[in-house]
Amino acid sequence: MKEILQKYEPVIGLEIHAQMKTKTKAFCRCSTEFNAPSNSNVCPVCLGHPGVLPVLNEELVNFILKMGLATNCKIKERSIFARKNYFYPDLSKGYQITQFETPICYGGYLDIELKDDTKRKIGITRIHMEEDAGKSIHDFSDDESLIDFNRCGVPLIEIVSEPDIRTIEEATTYLNKVKQLLVYLEINDGNMEEGSLRCDANISIRKKGEEKFGTRTEIKNLNSFRNVADALEAEFNRQYEVIESGDKVYYTTMTYDATLKKTSPLRSKEEAHDYRYFPEPDLVYVEVNENKLESIKNELPELPEEKKLRFKKDYLLPDYDINILVQDKELSNFYEQVTSNLATKNEKTFKTSSNIILSEVLRVLNDEKIDLKNLKLKPVNISELIGFVSRNEINNNTAKDVFNEMFTTGKNASEIIKEKNLIQVSDDNLIIEIINKIILENKSEADRYKSGESKLKGVLVGKIMKESKGKANPQKVNELLDKLIEN
């Protein structure tokens, strides 16, 4: 791909569908609960029975306005819904209610930051409201499918970017940023695997330096960050080969096969859908006035960028730590719960808290494949552990061991430290005693260190720490060893 990128560049736009975390569906009062028994959350409206009328869920409007404001969108004062007509068994009415010509949010953007610290602005064309379809089960038999309409009518917002994305890293970074905002706003659970966040990618390629866009294709239903990246790469390479062989790229809907790592056409041009959009006569205008916008603005929670600034100011953490903590809303909340329970609050304990979370907590979450909310250790338990470190009663290495013990046994830090007698030895006399013993036992190393072989200090400190069973205060050991060697 590298060589091709010297000659061609991809032009990418993403369409992200996010399921809204409302309690009820977009146009009826059925529950949106996930994993309910099939066809138990349905009613005449979402089953498409004749003579019923949809009524818009107020919360869906609130949620989409939050996302619109968080992505710097303009808000349409007056918008309407449209019918998108097509026949598919999981679409009960024979049309999907969506917004077509007048999306409620439009003309926004997001700033993204890439690994090499460059910043890019990605335009957002529009964000609109629509409803989801039901679920088909195709592997039931060769000629019949089963349908569950529980998901039919569940509210979605579709976030459509401008074709501003130029690399795969930009695509996944932008997608991640959108997901992060959705989760911070508490309007979507950010779960791509379960399908509550889905992505379609539009891509075309053009010769470097060319102004005009090439013909795009659209890759449907990408359900993980990995798939978005891999599918874009596969489609980039496919289009490159088509063009290099002298052929033309045609607008096609593509599907991506993650096992073969290949894109292939979903339907041909002749069968291209004709959705015959028209204004939905069963729903009335949606109007958003200044008061409404003001009240939504006031309801907006702290968003990642503001949180980063606050973390820098309040906790004096390095950017590296802040970026990882704030990336995940739950993780940053966890951090703040740990620090709020600290007996001593200062730059050092704030940093120790961050260290324990970034190295130990994230490690066990990863090893055990669990979420923060399933972690049995509570923030207050970790605050207690950090208390021992800040009082110099245990050192950082011992803290890691205690943390592991806490995680496996569920015991408190104080219990473990007491049981195992781990309180650090800071008493000079005790440490001097151990140092003298080690110097005596390792006379040649000690002499060589004294005569200037500084690397031997590590060896000696190691032996001293071992002799103390890891309990000696390392700082004291360092100081006292030098003092004793001098004499």
Binding site: K23, S38, F87, E144, S145, L146, I147, D148, F149, R276
Partner: protein, 96 residues
């Protein structure tokens, strides 16, 4: 602007309806008559008129986000022409 037979065929295909040649011709005549009638509107100058997107001038008819169970699972499925377990059963349609 006259509708061709091809267009009538396409519209019926999209609506999943099948017609014989005679019916298609009749539909073509009907559709053209309707369009011709509507074309009269083109004689009116509408330069300064906003398109009317909804016949109803009502705004913001919204409801609270509160769950109400309307049907039981059994009721939901009772009119299904075909079902298997608690699923609607339909002829297979797969895009690919």
């Amino acid at each position: 602007m006259a509708v061709s037979i091809g267009e009538v065929e396409n519209i019926s295909k999209l609506a999943k309806l099948k017609f014989n040649e005679e019916e298609l011709k009749k539909l073509q005549t009907d559709l053209n008559n309707i369009l011709e009638y509507i074309d009269q509107l083109n004689e009116v100058n509408l330069d300064d008129v906003e398109p009317l997107e909804n016949i109803n001038e009502l705004v913001n008819i919204l409801r609270k986000d509160e769950v109400m169970q309307w049907l039981t699972q059994k009721e939901a499925l009772q009119n299904a022409p075909d079902k298997t377990g608690n699923y609607f059963r339909v002829p297979k349609v797969i895009d690919k």
